[in-house]
């Protein structure tokens, strides 16, 4: 917990918070802009030319911004940096020469990442919800249960991606590039393949928990919709839990056994 406190403070009150602010303020700004455009045009929301409710537009934003971009990129960024940043800054020595198991240091930092990102992402989603949903026939009360599910799903996404990239960060020399290729290359590609390969992704389990329709914004999305294999909610939760547990366990093992030779 002490490592959690120390790391949370470092994460929240650093220059990187500016990046987080822009990343999470962007969707809010976009939602405000979209609402303004729609109100000025007086046509109402349309998706692919067809009239759409505010909930549908909210679902579109969830897919295109949060699920496909913001959640994975936050996972890649913070997950791969958990220990690597301390090594680069050469402050890892202070943490690893304290009477705290290395595994606990990693876990404390991981929990700080979860707390920091959840604290920042969820309010952004809530703001977008309140900006977009009331238009086009949807009501906040009616869509609220869906919002709660979405918030839970996003939190799970942050937890799962963070764990996977924490493992990548502790094991590999260039974790960021591998992380980006995994999140934006491997996952979208493998989701199109038939068979069991897609079960080696976080997206397979996470996307099953999304209760909004996937947007048809590219050929890949159309293919994905056609061949979409959706596991049950229980299976998805179990899959994500296994991914988190296994990733964190192996990451902890890596940190305990690895020698961190700092450049002089």
């Amino acid at each position: 917990m002490r490592v959690f406190d120390l790391s949370l403070g470092q994460m929240l009150w650093s220059r990187r918070s500016v990046f987080l602010g822009i990343l999470l303020g962007g969707p809010v700004f976009l939602a405000a802009a979209v609402r303004l455009i729609v109100e000025m045009s007086a046509r109402g929301f349309r998706i692919n030319g067809a009239t759409a409710s505010g909930s549908a537009v909210f679902g579109l934003i969830m897919w295109l911004l949060y699920i496909r971009f913001i959640i994975p990129i936050l996972g890649v960024f913070f997950g791969t940096s958990l220990i690597a940043d301390e090594v680069d800054d050469k402050t890892i020595t202070y943490l690893f020469t304290r009477p705290v198991p290395r595994r606990a240091v990693l876990l404390g930092k991981y929990l700080a990442y979860v707390a920091c990102t959840v604290l920042l992402v969820l309010p952004s989603v809530i703001l977008v919800f309140f900006l977009i949903v009331p238009m086009g026939g949807s009501t906040i009360a009616g869509a609220f249960p869906s919002l709660v599910t979405d918030l839970g799903m996003l939190a799970l996404g942050l937890i799962a991606y963070g764990a996977v990239f924490a493992l990548v960060g502790t094991r590999l020399k260039r974790p960021l590039i591998v992380g980006l290729v995994f999140a934006f290359g491997w996952e979208p590609a493998v989701m199109l393949f038939p068979g069991y390969l897609k079960r080696l992704t976080v997206a397979y389990y996470l996307q099953a928990l999304v209760n909004h329709e996937m947007p048809q914004d590219s050929a890949a999305s159309v293919l994905l919709t056609l061949f979409h294999e959706v596991p049950s909610v229980a299976m998805s939760l179990l899959g994500l839990a296994v991914i988190v547990a296994v990733s964190l366990w192996f990451a902890g093992r890596a940190v305990e056994n690895r020698e961190y030779v700092l450049e002089q």
Binding site: R15, F19, I37, R46, N48, L64, F69, I73, L180, F184
Partner: protein, 286 residues
């Protein structure tokens, strides 16, 4: 045996004229990157699309007896356009190379407090920035401009005539201009971000966000409004549009192309401004 003076002696050899110090930085940076096997592998993979297109061109002229195949594989301006990204597999490889080479260019110097040492030499800030820029641009041009030009030569070699070239003479300047615009934009943007932080990792994520987040935003706007008039929001869309215009292809976007060009120029200008502010010998901590 002659007795040699062991004491200090002034250097009496030739000195390069002033203003060439940037090339020292560039040469060192190129050597460092080329010594890494992983990076060499990445460069090699980045030439994969070129190989694929070269095989296509070979099939077009080698399978002349199969008219359908010949017509299908026949090169067009799009063949060369596609080699230059940004919305293709080449775009992904260019992105990875930019991150691999560029994220630490200035960030690592800032981390090591090396800027003070650099700028205490007879090296101006402009030369320092130019030297670093040249490293990244060299590698990016090596995977964009060079393969596109080589592909043109291959087309001539396989077709056995200059007919295609005569009909598409504009391809030479088009490839050059577009490759330079693309690499200049990406290099300057990456260098500016690299000057903002001491962590190459953070720089890489900022760059990924700069490229992909606006594209995601544009995706939402397009889906909602069904208009590509907001494409100026996305740098990748702007580059794509400019590329289409340069290669005399259909624009594909409702945004007027001068707007796209203006956005690119604005980003380049902003990057230059950031570099001017950030590349300093001292950092004041309040």
């Amino acid at each position: 045996m002659p007795i040699h003076d062991q004491g200090y002696r002034r250097y009496g050899g030739e000195r390069a004229p002033r203003g060439q110090a940037w090339s020292v930085i560039t040469r060192a940076g190129l050597r460092t990157m080329l010594a890494r096997r992983t990076f060499l592998a990445l460069l090699l993979i980045a030439w994969g699309p070129f190989l694929f297109r070269a095989v296509m061109i070979y099939a077009a002229y080698g399978a002349a007896s199969i008219p359908q195949a010949s017509a299908y594989f026949k090169p067009t301006a799009e063949t060369f356009r596609g080699l230059l990204g940004p919305n293709s597999i080449e775009g992904v490889l260019i992105f990875l190379i930019t991150i691999y080479v560029g994220s630490g260019l200035i960030a690592n110097d800032r981390r090591a407090n090396a800027l003070q040492i650099y700028l205490s030499k007879p090296l101006s800030r402009t030369e320092y920035i130019f030297g670093k820029l040249a490293i990244l641009m060299t590698f990016l041009l090596a995977v964009t401009w060079v393969p596109a030009m080589v592909l043109l030569v291959i087309q001539i070699a396989f077709s056995g005539s200059f007919a295609f070239l005569k009909d598409n003479l504009f391809l030479f300047p088009a490839i050059t201009i577009y490759a330079f615009i693309e690499t200049a934009l990406m290099s300057l943007a990456m260098l500016a971000l690299s000057s903002l932080s001491k962590s190459p990792r953070y720089v890489a994520v900022l760059y990924a966000a700069l490229l992909f987040f606006p594209s995601a935003v544009y995706g939402v706007l397009y889906a909602v409004t069904r208009s590509s008039g907001f494409s100026w929001v996305s740098l990748r869309a702007d580059l794509d549009q400019i590329g289409n215009v340069i290669f005399r292809l259909a624009s594909g976007y409702e945004t007027p192309w001068p707007v796209a060009l203006f956005v690119i120029a604005a980003v380049i200008g902003l990057a230059a401004w950031i570099l001017e502010r950030q590349v300093r010998g001292v950092e004041v901590v309040a």
